[in-house]
Amino acid sequence: MSHWIVAPVVLPAMLAAFMVLATRRHPGVQRVLSMGGAVSLLAIALGLAWQAGDGTINVYLLGDWAAPFGIVLVADRLSTYMVLLTAILALPVLLHAIGSGWDTRGRHFHALFHFQLMGIMGAFLTGDLFNLFVFFEVLLIASYGLVIHSGGAVRLKAGVQYVIYNLLGSTLFLFALGTLYAEAGSLNMADLAGRVAAIPAEGTAAIRVAAVLLLLVFAVKAALVPLHFWLPAAYAEAPGPVAALFAIMTKVGAYAIIRVYTLIFPPDLSATQGLHGAWLLPLALVSLALGMIGVLAARRLDRLVAFSVIGSMGMVLTAIALFTPAGIAAALYYIAHSTLAAAALFLLVDIVAAQRGGHGTRIESAPSFAGGPLAAGLFFAAAIAMTGLPPLSGFLGKLLILDAAFASPRAAWVWAVVLAASLVAVLGFARAGSAVFWKSRGPDVPDTPDTQLDDSVPPSQVRAAQAPPAGPVVAVGALLALLALQTVLAGPMTAHMRATAQQLFAPEPYISTVLSAQGKEMSSDHGSEGGH
């Protein structure tokens, strides 16, 4: 049993605790530790992904208790892929936070950042539903701190809405888990797969309720349309690097849907057949349309990006809702793309807001600012990626999704909505880009100072006349380079995604590996301690 599987959870946890306790007054030391932690996390994630690449499923028994009794961490292709994506995202985001000075506007940015990473990594790796709930709470409680990082009335208000909404989501999750446990008698995912399938046909009412409740919970996390209200304000008001890190948080919901609805409630399970598939696809299409219309209607750049996140989640969930290997593979490819593209846009908007001073993120013409052409170029590239125009990976992802939908009976709907939404998104980004970058007035034109200073303007706005700092620009460039890399490596990557989807749709090895992992011996003589 390799201990590396638990490292993505333990390393950020220890690091964050150490930073809170020992280095709270030393921002320099925090930065070094935080960067070091993120780099080692990336190395560990690469190692895990490489181990799982050939289809082996590695199981880690926490406390060495065997599977249905103890909690397990499972590193299969899907989990390690998501862990790797998180680790890749964390580095540029951290670079931006350090370069733009966001991390020094409160004492605990780096600690919260690593607690958040711990929660995300744990959610991806765990093989136990209740443990998934616990890791959801870990990542949420860290995100509460990050959303209101550096304070301000507007941000606090958005934070309150975000916290309350997610608190309700957590309550719903517990109701779902209680129902599931009462019916199936286990919360281990692999064990549940067998137990749910064994429930006789006449007694499936409660398990169907549990399946729908769980889907609702994950849909809240994934910002599916009727449940998306928490997202725009929270993402728009959060500091730039925090919003960029949150780009992976909606994907936690998508991951949970993929995992639970291929393993525990697979599409061919008679008890829940046609239950969630019937309305997940229409809702995903509505999300896609609504998100992209939001892009067109947004009056602020950060809101625009937040709505594009909703739209791209709609795209991901459309592909997932097909519940075919091709659909899941397309969704996985698109998840990486949309995470990186959204993060790049959030970081870029933060740079632009800092440079524009009092105009902040509002989509209106303003005096041209230092570094404007560079920011315009980066925005152009990121917008191309996000809207899915040809040279970058968004286009390939969209093609994969359209191709996967071809066999579906609702193919016409999927094609129509995806293509129309893309057009709307292109219009929205073009409108915003030309208003902010192209129509900017010359710097010599006297501008009436804006008294309504935006809360979201970072501290660096005092340097508005200077070029943007190097760190954030490099971070955005790195994310765009990763998108380009994803385009170039599309062949091997889609092959890996197909293998991942196949592993998900043939869950027997997963179940048998988890349940047959040998833990410490449990003595039948219950008077004495178990163990070796």
Binding site: E137, I141, Y181
Partner: protein, 119 residues
């Protein structure tokens, strides 16, 4: 006993939802607290209701209570307590910063008469 527990959960959930839908932050927080109480009782009951049965192995005992929901509910209590504390602190900060504690976005200002009633 089943009826008592079930109706207690139901009433607490209904009251919690009513409060969550209120306009101001304070009743909303009380509502989420009520909802977490309801879900804790629900989790506790999910292993089946038995009286006087021990949860751990003991000689000469045949009927046991399910120990797992008790562990789950402990975790859930700790988490929901922490979350409630966090939401109280954040909304206090928001209230002190903005001078008002309405939950929604920038809607129209409430006229004093109706605001007095909403309190």
């Amino acid at each position: 006993m089943e009826l008592l527990i079930a109706s207690a959960i139901g009433i607490m959930t209904a009251a919690g939802f009513y409060l969550v839908l209120r306009l101001r932050t304070f009743p909303v927080i009380v509502g989420t607290a009520l909802l977490t109480y309801a879900v804790n009782v629900f989790l506790f009951a999910s292993g089946g209701l038995r009286t006087g049965a021990p949860p751990i192995l003991r000689d000469g005992v045949e009927a046991y209570a399910d120990p797992l929901p008790q562990a789950l509910v402990l975790t859930a209590i700790v988490i929901s307590f922490g979350m409630t504390a966090v939401v109280v602190v954040i909304s206090l900060g928001a209230y002190l910063g903005a001078g008002e504690d309405r939950v929604n976005d920038d809607g129209p200002r409430i006229d004093p008469v109706r605001a007095g009633r909403a309190r």
